[in-house]
């Protein structure tokens, strides 16, 4: 585990957030606003999952904040009766950083999409992750621009025919999990919009993690990218593709664990469980960055395989905790006399038309 001892106590993601006195329900987190996504949109499923998982965190509703960018999924805050900001395209991680640094008593969520987080806001995403700001990022990946009516996105497959790419898109897509791991995120998970149980489990772990958590949510856009993830949903197709990971458990999948993940060079490959020795099967360790990265590389644009669950989780001091600790240390050191600051070390006085000898304290402030 890569920890730096900065004398920081190990805290959970919600440890400084006040706990709710009463039992809360999903409807307590439901705002009075009409939900306006397209019929069949995967966002509905995620919204339902979030509304029902938030009460299980047992934190005060008023200390919960959702910050979003721009895109279909970024309407999310309007539909939750928490504090929320629907901000500008790509910038939600930056806004959430300022909020999280100045308010340790809040649980701060960022809702973003593949275009918002990985295209216009790519810079803010990687920096929030590397700094390890205590925020939970829900990245809705539908591999298309929905709100602008169907252009390809930075996670679209190469060759995708859209309105802006009539001859097929040319640019290689991001793998959001690989990207987050490259930015040394301390928590990276993935879930499917329709998998209520799996999604809830990953979201809860992410919210309770202290530091920046990124959860990639595969989400269907029935209007502009219908069935994009169907191979991961249909039982016949998904059996050989969906790889759930559980910390401490050997990674096998399919009916009766038919397939297994084993090492190949510096990476991983899929084998038939019956054809490999039991000890050859990789045991999932979310603290092993190289393993997490190799797992992320099992997913490619054809979705031949996709790993779900918590791919990585480690403890590292968060930027916001460290920032507050520095300020706290400076404040405790005293010397916050404002007039003394303004005066500095060299002053002179004019009184009744005469210049009086200057006062020098003898110490430079620099």
């Amino acid at each position: 585990m890569s920890t730096i001892d900065l004398g920081m106590p190990v805290l959970g993601g919600l440890d400084l957030v006040p706990t709710a006195e009463d039992v809360q329900k999903a409807k307590d987190f439901t705002s009075d606003q009409e939900v306006r996504w397209c019929p069949g949109c995967g966002d509905y499923a995620v919204l339902a999952a979030v509304r029902s998982f938030l009460p299980t965190l047992s934190i005060k509703r008023e200390n919960t904040v959702f910050v979003s960018g721009i895109g279909c999924s970024s309407r999310f805050p309007y539909y939750l009766d928490t504090y929320g900001m629907h901000s500008i395209h790509g910038r939600a991680p930056a806004i959430a950083t300022g909020l999280a640094v100045s308010r340790p008593d809040l649980s701060v969520f960022v809702v973003t999409g593949d275009g918002d987080a990985l295209s216009i806001g790519g810079n803010h995403l990687i920096h929030a992750l590397r700094r390890n700001v205590n925020i939970t990022i829900l990245l809705f990946n539908n591999r298309i621009y929905g709100l602008t009516k169907g252009q390809y996105s930075p996670t679209s497959e190469v060759g995708k025919v859209t309105k802006s790419t009539p001859m097929g898109s040319l640019d290689h897509p991001f793998n959001p999990v690989s990207l987050a791991l490259g930015a040394e995120a301390t928590f990276v998970g993935r879930a499917m919009d329709s998998d209520r149980k799996g999604l809830t489990a990953v979201l809860e772990a992410a919210a309770r993690h202290r530091g920046a958590s990124l959860v990639e949510i595969y989400q269907d856009c029935p209007i502009f990218n219908d069935g994009s993830f169907d191979v991961l949903r249909r039982p016949d197709d998904s059996e050989a593709r969906v790889i759930p990971v559980v910390p401490g458990r050997p990674i096998t999948f399919g009916t009766d664990g038919r397939w297994a993940v084993v090492r190949r060079g510096f990476g991983l490959r899929i084998a038939s469980t019956g054809e490999v020795a039991a000890e050859a099967i990789v045991v999932h360790d979310p603290a092993d960055l190289e393993l997490s990265f190799a797992l992320s590389r099992l997913s490619d644009q054809n979705l031949d395989h996709a790993v779900f669950g918590v791919l990585r989780q480690v403890q590292r001091p968060t930027y916001d905790d460290l920032t507050r600790a520095q300020v706290q240390q400076a404040v405790e050191g005293g010397g916050d006399d404002l007039l003394a600051l303004l005066h500095g070390t060299d002053t002179w006085t004019v009184r009744d038309g005469a210049v009086l000898p200057h006062a020098t304290t003898g110490e430079s402030t620099r």
Partner: protein
């Protein structure tokens, strides 16, 4: 009035003011030398104004014109307004510094050069075919050839330090020499050197020895006229210190946080010439200040908006290119109606432009540079010390009216310095902000966009407030509830409400300085400025008045909203002249707002107006015998 000073010869000549310019290679430490001389002048009680000028390159090629860095200081026994047009004394540490600056030295001016640097190679580097020290081309000046480098290295030889370190101390030799010439106190500089190099005492000692050597050289060689005394200036009663604009802004932000009971959060990305505000505030964490060096300009303002949403005093600092990048986020702050301070330390533009030079060309961008109808109050300090009050005023507007406020400083204010009459404890009273904590709707509901009838401000209700959960965002808000609304009438109403809120901000009336002349009449011509042209306009107007010309002047602190009496003031004068360091942006604004022709006088050279230069530019418009021609009224551009 003046006090006797130890070490000042009794027969010392006295002068009412002196302008000194130190010029050298960008590695020669000219800024530091100028800063120290400034500190000495301040400690002595002179009024002063400074103008540092340096290249954007950190270390341009040695000995080239591109690498010349200079620092001009004007100090006086009376109140002065500008760093001075032309130096009385030019210190040139090499041929490049001489070539770049000698044109500004008037006939009879004193030139002090480091003769060691006038080698054939260095002369050739800047295209001198003959040595100007030998060819008579400097005969109009009093030239002192001082072998500063070799005198310094010889003096430091006993200390046994390296040749490079020894040569590097020659700027302290120059400072010592000038300190003797102008009877400056020396103890402060010696103490400062020992403090600055506390971790390398041998370097501290070398610098002190070089400084003393320069001082002794002046005293013993008898080739310099001196020492000259410039007596302390009797300014209005109060306690003073010397301050730069960037430092004054940083202190103003800390003071504003105290005044309104808000923790300060600065989100900023380094950019010239604004970075020193970030540096200064980063050192002031003991005042509860949080600084965040963001990944880019947008994250700088984004994080400040996030902090403001959480109830902090959100601040972001930048220069023009950064304002361009922050524009969209600034629009968000307009829409969600949160307090925010945005500081633009203007520099030469467009694009990367002239990073280290001054300009006032972001005014219209500040006023109008956003999509949609997005009014933002704009406040401009007029001098380095005034930046403190301007920051407090900007924050007052931000928190009272729940709005982002743009503060327009510039390079001349940021790096220039002057005496600052310090506020007293009574000036720093606290009036904490009250956050919205209770439902405010008629049926016991919370209306995040219900407005205070007087200020039209909405409640500032922060996360963590029970029962008042609500959402804000960049989409148009329904009046009152703040819910998303695409309703045509609602949008029309909200656009007008946002505008009315800014238009209704209370700002003091424009004060006009229009003394009754000897003939019992006031002026027919008004000179109107904003920002750092305050000093040059004041100095130019003073010069004209001394000639007997009646001329009024006024200076705008608030560019949006303009003071309520602005139109009436403009009406009172036959001619209104507006000097600016842009192509006439305020003039354009006034003509649009008041359908009133004004005369635009402009300079966009990366340099402030000189007092004499502006006097001559104003002269055609203020002459009592000349009636305004048609071209005057359209706006004469320089």
């Amino acid at each position: 009035m003046t006090r006797a000073r130890e070490g000042v010869a009794e027969d010392a000549a006295s002068r009412d003011r002196v302008v000194i310019r130190f010029a050298g290679d960008s590695g020669d430490g000219m800024q530091l030398t100028g800063d120290r001389f400034t500190a000495e002048a301040a400690a002595f009680g002179n009024d002063l104004a400074t103008f540092p000028s340096f290249p954007a390159e950190i270390r341009a090629p040695h000995g080239t014109l591109a690498g010349v860095s200079s620092f001009q200081l004007h100090f006086a026994d009376h109140d002065i307004l500008t760093p001075g047009d032309r130096p009385d004394v030019l210190v040139a540490m090499n041929p490049a510094a001489l070539k770049a600056n000698v044109g500004d030295l008037p006939a009879g001016g004193v030139l002090i050069v480091d003769a060691d640097e006038f080698t054939p190679r260095n002369l050739a580097k800047v295209g001198y075919e003959a040595d100007p020290l030998e060819d008579g081309s400097l005969s109009a000046h009093t030239v002192h050839r001082v072998a500063m480098t070799s005198l310094t290295t010889a003096a430091l030889a006993p200390l046994g330090i390296g040749k490079k370190d020894a040569e590097r101390s020659k700027n302290m030799f120059a400072l010592g020499l000038l300190s003797w010439m102008y009877s400056r106190p020396t103890e402060g500089t010696e103490r400062w050197l020992r403090d600055k190099f506390a971790k390398r005492p041998e370097i501290a000692e070398a610098n002190v020895v070089a400084f003393r050597t320069g001082h002794a050289y002046g005293e013993t060689t008898e080739t310099f006229a001196g020492p000259v005394v410039v007596a302390p200036a009797v300014l209005p009663d109060g306690t003073y210190r010397q301050v730069t604009g960037n430092t004054a802004l940083a202190y103003g932000i800390v003071a504003a946080g105290r005044r309104f009971g808000l923790p300060v959060f600065l989100g900023s990305y380094p950019i010239t010439p604004a970075s020193d505000i970030l540096h200064e505030l980063s050192r002031l964490k003991r005042f509860g200040v949080t600084t965040f060096q963001a990944e880019d300009e947008i994250a700088g303002i984004g994080s400040a908006i996030g902090a403001a949403y959480g109830g902090a005093l959100g601040v972001t600092t930048t220069s023009g290119p950064g304002i361009s990048l922050k524009s969209e986020a600034l629009g968000l702050a307009v829409m969600i109606e949160l307090p925010l301070l945005v500081i633009d330390v203007q520099r030469g533009g467009p694009s990367t432009g002239l990073p280290t030079k001054t300009e006032q060309s972001d005014l219209l961008q500040a006023l109008f540079g956003r999509n949609g109808e997005a009014p933002v109050p704009v406040v401009a300090p007029s001098s380095p010390a005034d930046a403190f009050d301007a920051a407090l005023d900007a924050v007052r507007i931000a928190v009272t009216y729940r709005t982002p406020v743009l503060l327009l400083s510039d390079g001349a204010i940021a790096n220039g310095s002057e005496p600052w009459r310090l506020p007293e404890a009574a000036d720093l009273t606290s009036t904490p902000v009250s956050f919205g904590t209770e439902p405010n709707g008629p049926d016991g509901e919370f209306l995040p966009y219900a407005r205070d009838p007087e200020t039209l401000a909405r409640p500032w209700t922060v996360p963590g407030t029970p029962g008042l959960e609500h959402r804000v965002g960049g989409l148009e808000k329904a009046d009152g509830t703040g819910n998303i609304s695409y309703e045509p009438d609602n949008h029309d109403r909200m656009v007008r409400l946002r505008q009315a809120r800014i238009d209704g901000i209370a700002v003091p009336d424009l004060e006009v300085d229009d003394p009754v002349g000897p003939d019992g009449r006031t002026a027919e011509v008004l000179v109107l400025g904003w920002g750092s042209t305050y000093g040059p306009i004041g100095a130019a107007v003073r010069r004209l008045r001394r000639e007997g010309v009646a001329v009024a002047r006024a200076h705008l602190r608030h560019l949006n909203p303009l003071p309520a009496n602005t139109g009436a003031v403009l009406e009172r004068y036959r001619t209104v002249v507006v000097p600016e360091m842009n192509l006439g942006q305020l003039a354009f604004l006034l003509q649009g707002r008041f359908a009133r022709q004004v005369v635009s006088v402009t300079k966009v050279a990366g340099m402030p107006f000189g007092a004499e230069e502006l006097q001559e530019l104003l002269r055609p418009h203020v002459s009592p015998h000349v009636s305004p021609s048609a071209s005057d009224l359209i706006g004469v551009r320089r």
